[in-house]
Amino acid sequence: MSHSLSAEQKAELEAWRTYYPYPIMGLLEALRCVQGWFRCVPPEVEPHLAELFSTSVAHVHEVATFFPFLTRKPAGRHRVGICRGLSCAMAGSKDISRCLEKSLGAREGETSPDGRFSWEEMECLGACDHAPALLVDERLKGKATEEAVAKLAENLK
């Protein structure tokens, strides 16, 4: 896959640069955009971001490698998370993990061979009232059941 930025993508990054009172404040949202487009933050894009935000490539790289949402290897087109926080662990999140591995055809932290899915055990998702909590593409999907997880692969195109 080519990691060059289209004119629209560059315009979107520029919009984040000017959205806040100081340009550098837009860096994290810009990185989130890049992650969304390429499913990772490719090293080739870092110099563009560095120039856009008037900072060093090292700085961009440092931020891009700090936050778990930003990845080096491409995540799946759909990212699934199962919460392993205390309340969710107590509600059996480990059992759901086993179902996810089977249903999505990938191991924890890895991407399925067709690139459709990746899944992770995540820290508290702020949904302990629906334990064990399921997250799909940053949206909380309520209580994860083995039945729902088994159907995830067909429901997410």
């Binding site: 837009g26 936050f67 926080g85 998702l125 940053e138």
Partner: protein, 419 residues
Amino acid sequence: MKILTRHFDNPKLHELETYRALGGYQGLAKARGMAPQAVQEEVKKSNLRGLGGAGFPVGMKWSTVPPPEKAPERFVVANFDESEPGCFKDRVLGTRAPHQILEGLLIACHAVSARWGFVFIRGEYADQYDILKKAVAEAEAAGLCGDVKVRLMRGAGAYICGLDTALLETMEGKKAWPRQPPPFPTVVGLMGKPTVVNNVETLSMLPHILVNGGQWFADIGAKGDPARRIHPSGGTAVYSVSGDVERPGIYEFAMGTPLRQIIEAAGGVRGGRALKAVIPGGTSTPPLAASEIDVPMDFDSLRGVGSFLGAGGIVVLDETRDMVEVSHNIERFLAHESCGQCTPCREGSEWTTRILERVLEGGGVEPDLANLRRVGENIAGKVICALGDTVGMVVRGYMKKFPEDFAKRLPAKPAEAAR
């Protein structure tokens, strides 16, 4: 007593029209008719304390912002980076009553004469981000934001961003490494400018304080007992109740309500089992034994029993729970979320987790308990933020209150002669 969740049975509360029909934005109108200083005084009178976990008096925090003539540019940040395990009240508040947060943010901006108000929201709350974004658009279209520009920003999955100084670093486009105060953010904050960071629940209280008066709010809350160094905590708190409880969810109660009453409101222990322990404020707060749940839920009463109100994340643990497993889960979380800036925390949280892992797997050795204590004590006070202090405090709390759970997994102490 309900303040924030009073209208939560209304399914359209998130819409501006409904929110206004129920009295929304009257607090803001009232605040804007007052001098900023007068708003601060009213909030001081209310005894409102920071509900994100620290419990710092809000009016006092605001009053440390330098005057506009010294620093014309200043910011207010709504901290919506809820990530403490056991806490989900901010998510519910943001889903059901986004305008309540926004109104609070605008009141805080007026109180400290800020022209920029930010909401920093965790990335995993994409639905709540959309809801809030819509609320901001509605408020802007209705002219409610006045001369304040409101901007949202999403996080990218790091727990430590919930700490004010780490949050500010993140907003500045840096990795989330906490700063060592002083200076405090109210003096040197975002981009070096005075910045007030308040939790979204805290901000949500402001409209009600403005409408009903600080005294009204103070009267609802816990009066305190200065002789026992228990300071007043005004108003209510919204508790997240989860774990082994019949009806997990959010429950709002006046400050000072006994923990027992909150657990009973959530239907008590699930399946009629006996209670073993309760985490009162999120998993970073040490556990209470079943015999301790008559404690009044306010910041200083909980401190008196060796724990914290934190962000009110109550996790109920029944008689079947193993405290080695529980403490391992929490320590593994802390090790994962340690930002890596301070060596004692980065290494110590890992060691603590590994020792507990070994004990869990049946390979524990006699000195493990002493080592767990020692590692924790070698972190506390030697690191920048509270995450490191938590590492030792949490496991010590479980070892102290549930020694039998640890003892049964460890070999008996060798005889003196064998040493």
